[in-house]
Symmetry: C2
Subunit: 466 residues, 2 copies
Amino acid sequence: MAGSPLLDDLRAALGDDAVLTDPDLLRMHQRDEADLCPAGTPLVVTRPRDTAQVVAVVRAAARHGVPVVPQGARTGLAGAANAVDGAVVLSTVAMDAILEIDPVSRIAVVQPGVVNATLAAAVAKQGLYYPPDPGSWESSTIGGNVSTNAGGMCCVKYGVTTEYVLGLEVVLASGEVLRTGRRTAKGVAGYDLTRLFVGSEGTLGVLTEITVSLRPAPEESLTMVAVFGSTAEAGTAVAQIAARGLTPSLLELLDQTHLRAIEAYRPMGLRTDAQALLLAAADTGARAADDLARLAEVCEAAGAEEVYAATDAVEAAALLQARRLAHPAMEKFAADAFPDGNGGLVIDDVAVPRGSLAALLDGVARIAEECDVPIGVVGHAGDGNMHPNIVVDRADPASLERGRRAFDEIMRLGLDLGGTCTGEHGVGLLKRDWLAREIGPVGVRVHQAIKAALDPAGLLNPGKVL
Amino acid sequence: MAGSPLLDDLRAALGDDAVLTDPDLLRMHQRDEADLCPAGTPLVVTRPRDTAQVVAVVRAAARHGVPVVPQGARTGLAGAANAVDGAVVLSTVAMDAILEIDPVSRIAVVQPGVVNATLAAAVAKQGLYYPPDPGSWESSTIGGNVSTNAGGMCCVKYGVTTEYVLGLEVVLASGEVLRTGRRTAKGVAGYDLTRLFVGSEGTLGVLTEITVSLRPAPEESLTMVAVFGSTAEAGTAVAQIAARGLTPSLLELLDQTHLRAIEAYRPMGLRTDAQALLLAAADTGARAADDLARLAEVCEAAGAEEVYAATDAVEAAALLQARRLAHPAMEKFAADAFPDGNGGLVIDDVAVPRGSLAALLDGVARIAEECDVPIGVVGHAGDGNMHPNIVVDRADPASLERGRRAFDEIMRLGLDLGGTCTGEHGVGLLKRDWLAREIGPVGVRVHQAIKAALDPAGLLNPGKVL
């Protein structure tokens, strides 16, 4: 393909070094971190450096009728960044400039390839705070975070990515450059196109610039854990925390499977006999101790066996680190659960109304038993957003099939409880069928109508979401 | 028209008492509270009681090729609810049930005709808080608030209506019923259709049910005022408050014109010699006094001549009342400014980045002088969202023309300062040209494409926004 007219067009516009066809590199850009999703081999990976080059890529691909698949750091968990065969991958990693930080208007303007942690650190230097903190925050990009409307641990108090996106520059399928939104704290001029693009997973346009709002830096925080003899009690505690009007800055749940996996991965004296652990924080400075005491009181009333507060910042950081290690520890646990390291994790993502958290946890335990697969549960309890992690033997089709069945049963349970099929990971390829079930035929038709209005040829990230 | 086939269809579906053709009533439903906007006479005003009846109205109108204009309490300030000649007005006032309040999930589900103050009071009884508080909150409906993405005084800390809309039921132009969004704290399933409908001013569908998120009741608040010898100093104080990371729960500005108008309307000892007054509050309970002290310090550093805190709740309420009276007082001031009570107000709405507030205030003063019209400025200083109120003689075409010119100059200034043509009142009929200028030709085309995708016949609230 080295001499194809499309490649010639791309090289002419971007230069040879931004138009990559090395087979290893193409393989590397086939997929994000989602399991169970198909992925094709792209024709080429492009790394445009500015909006004009993105326009050139989109226009060249359109001229040749070739799909464009935008990619950030490929840390997504729904296959939204997976390539399709013969596609032009448009990687935003070379567009990684922080263009502006304005402490008075409390905004930052960034290119899409800026890494979340890089932005967070840059604004922190100015006493500001960019809250969205997906698990991948040390490597994922703001463009990817916006495209998937990423969540994280801060959301229970501060909301998800979309709450922080004020405006966008987007290259449309036509190659036109659209500017949406604003730099002001308030604004209601026209349809909210900004939030239409947020979470649209690259199917409606390619983000080239993002204006985010920032908060003042939070005050110092304190952290506590509550240990429960049953997951249902932990779920009750979460519901009661909400009912009492308490607003922790973090409220996470780890089940016994995760506690044991973390303790095996990095021993830190976690109570592995507990059925569930709630990790909570209050970032309210001088009031944090009082706020934690109220949280502790609710946990004890809900049946916690033990509640302890971190006595200093080091201990608090260790507790947070335990939570951050849940994913790699569980991956290791899964790998070791079957011969030859063939074990793997199917990571699910479901959100239910807070009051239904206990029912969700009970239901997942029942599904694990019925489907005969180990399932560990971890996640953002305060938002009712949990990640049931299903352990499968990748070498055993029967095990994979049981895992897939458990995955579907969890989705069904989530919807039955008034929830959604994805709290923060997105739809991508993984959950198209469940999205359709959740939003129904009218919802699907409206999605299709909007997609057709903005991308009539269907060349932008085809097959994702819908 | 009493026997037209459309009216027959409507009466068959809704019953005679919900299908109104009394000429006085038709006149009453011609327009909202916006000035300078055309309004037609509707054929009929319908008052459906449930979603099925809304479907019947939309389908009947579509069959006969007649436009549908949704209306709430008609308190809007951009003409978005104005009728067009021969249209079916779809009034939601009979759909006024609060369907559910869930304190654990912190949500409420309401019909669109519920009045903002009614919802606020109902959730307050359960220790909850629905923040959006447009000036019209005692009479405007949640449906209207959502359709215009209404703001208010709370927004500086708590954000505008769209931040609180989790899900919608919408009757589409096709008569299909779409459900968007969710009841969960988090969710990223598919395109954010919810927020596409929020602020779309009835041009994409008719809202029939709204799920809003709620907050825990705020703590007790304290209130203070700072008196300035120049509006620029007040603007500087606002910028410094933001730069210092302070988060007042209210930060409003009244200029001298408004102070004098209020004092004339209801004497309360306001400092009418001041050029500007900032009104601030902190709803942080035990910390409120400290937080106010910090705000006071910034105001003094910016040049405030006097800062005083309300010593009790009665005095605090009086200060808030002064702010709430700004609009009627200014209406009275305008009416009295010309013979025979022919004076009137053209209410503008512009938002700029906080750092540009002082420049906006200076610019508006210059425009008042250049256009030779009195302009009073009041508004949500903490958000950079101001309402320049232009005083005109309705009986004098030259005065109206000068007012119109000032209005346009303010819009131009707002955009030049990186702002938006509407911070919270919306586009409606009043600002279609300015919206087009703000979002540019690509933005207009995307708006048109989305409108065409959802309402191909163009029968939903035609002529609004676009």
